[in-house]
């Protein structure tokens, strides 16, 4: 089996600094005055996650809010460095975890396509080659020379998705993709994702939409409090996730009740 992403015992710790000072001035004062001293608390966003994603596989990550899903994606993208453990990535990762990020709202749709492509290290000529397909997919021909700040939320997201899926990454990381556009456009997105899958793109998808995970993914992982609680067949993992949610809900009810 050819591997695309290997995580070995990856943990990520954040320092929660209460009374965190961003000033050199206050920092200097705190040497003399304990009132200014910061208190540091550690928070483990990910604990000992070991996961291998095969080439061409698509894997879904589920979990409640704050369970570490986005942190996991950011580590895969190289935005965060793991605190411990090891990450090996084989292939070109789409370096963005959110659609339309890196757009400059003052620029037009056309300019933003080139800007976004350059973040992906595509040359101008390479972008020229896919430009028409991106515009056609986004259905924004009419507005492509309008500054993005005048776009509606849906238009913005459509352009973001269109760029992301046409850059032909070997590994695509997506956080909550299907908040995009109306139903018809969503179906178009799904079709495009299927298309990428068939052509061997490795996909890591974070979503709260269980249906999407079930239909799109070969495998799923369930994160809870930063631990990978379950991994395997999407149906089974989702069932486990739901069971855990119920349990959490019951605990919360007891705690507040």
């Amino acid at each position: 089996m050819e591997r695309a992403i290997e995580l070995r015992g990856v943990s990520k710790m954040f320092l929660l600094k209460h009374n965190r000072s961003w000033d050199l001035k206050v920092k200097a004062l705190s040497l003399f005055n304990p009132r200014h001293r910061e208190q540091v608390e550690t928070f483990w966003a990910l604990r000992d996650v070991t996961l291998t994603v095969a080439k061409g596989e698509s894997i879904g990550i589920v979990g409640p809010n704050g369970s570490g899903k986005s942190t996991l994606l950011r580590i895969m993208a190289g935005i965060f460095q793991p605190s411990s453990g090891e990450l090996v990535v084989h292939g070109r990762v789409a370096p963005m975890i959110e659609l339309g990020v890196g757009f400059n709202v003052e620029l037009t749709g056309r300019e933003n396509i080139y800007l976004n492509a350059s973040l992906f290290r595509l040359s101008r000529r390479e972008t020229d080659a896919i430009y028409d397909r991106i515009v056609a997919f986004s259905e924004l021909e009419q507005f492509i020379d309008t500054p993005v700040k005048n776009y509606s939320t849906g238009m913005y997201a459509r352009l973001g998705f269109a760029v992301a899926v046409h850059l032909e990454p070997e590994i695509l990381l997506i956080d909550e993709v299907l908040a995009v556009g109306d139903e018809r456009f969503q179906q178009k997105c799904m079709a495009r994702m299927e298309d990428l899958r068939r052509r061997g793109t490795t996909i890591v998808l974070v979503s709260h939409a269980m249906e999407t995970i079930r239909s799109m993914c070969d495998r799923a992982g369930f994160l809870l409090h930063g631990r990978l609680e379950a991994e395997g067949d999407p149906g089974k993992v989702i069932a486990e996730y739901r069971a855990a949610l119920h349990l959490l809900g019951a605990e919360a009810a007891v705690a507040t009740g």
Binding site: R74, I79, F80, P95, M96, I97, V101, G102, L119
Partner: protein, 217 residues
């Protein structure tokens, strides 16, 4: 603007008696404005692009370098626009040595990028670095022979000038543009040595800290 005010202040009010004062001032002031502008902007290069850094992976070096290059372009354009006018009015004979301003500006660019690496990285941890930078630049302006000549400074300041990279760059610009001579070996070495050291050191600082940028901005 600054050029006009300083010319009036130092040429007519204080009567410093520096020959071709406007041109002399221009040769020192415009590179300084590039340097100061680039550093001030560079303190925001990383912090001001927090959203991008938290969500996209790309070589973080792009941000400070782009900031400096932007200011550098403005500097070159301003020089190209103002230089001929001042030469015409002031009637300074320009020699071929003036062409040496191109390699000098490039070395100056590298030096500035080095400083920008360090400052942009430090601002992620300490936001008031940007205030300190502005303040330090204001002090350094008067400690650099821009509106006066090195020879006019008292002894202790001259010693400082011998090591200060900012003084060395200024003197080099003045030598090449105003006096039409190549800078002497000491100035040349100082300029190049500082550029190399700053670039290497600045990048090392930047490299060490850049892994944590996403968590700090």
């Amino acid at each position: 603007m600054m050029l006009v005010v300083y010319t009036i202040a130092f040429k007519y009010v204080m009567r410093t008696g520096i020959p071709h004062f406007t041109f002399f001032l221009l040769a020192g002031l415009m590179p300084w404005q590039f340097f100061a502008g680039a550093l001030t902007a560079s303190t925001h290069a990383i912090v001001g692009n927090g959203n991008l850094i938290r969500k996209v992976y790309f070589p973080r070096e792009v941000l400070p370098v782009a900031t400096v290059l932007f200011t550098f372009t403005q500097f070159i354009l301003a020089m190209a626009a103002v230089l001929p006018v001042v030469i015409l009015i002031d009637g300074v004979p320009l020699s071929w040595v003036a062409l040496m301003v191109i390699p000098l500006a490039l070395v100056h660019l590298l030096f500035t990028i080095g400083c920008a690496f360090a400052l942009s990285a430090l601002t992620t941890s300490f936001r008031d670095v940007s205030h300190f930078t502005e303040f330090a630049l204001m002090l350094l302006f008067w400690l650099t022979p821009i509106v006066y000549q090195v020879q006019m400074a008292p002894g202790p300041l001259k010693v400082f000038f011998r090591t200060s990279p900012l003084a060395a760059f200024t003197v080099a610009y003045q030598d090449i543009l105003v006096r039409g001579v190549l800078p002497d070996l000491a100035v040349g070495t100082t300029v190049i040595a500082w550029a190399v050291v700053t670039l290497v050191l600045g990048h090392a600082i930047f490299r060490r800290r850049s892994a944590g940028f996403a968590e700090l901005v």
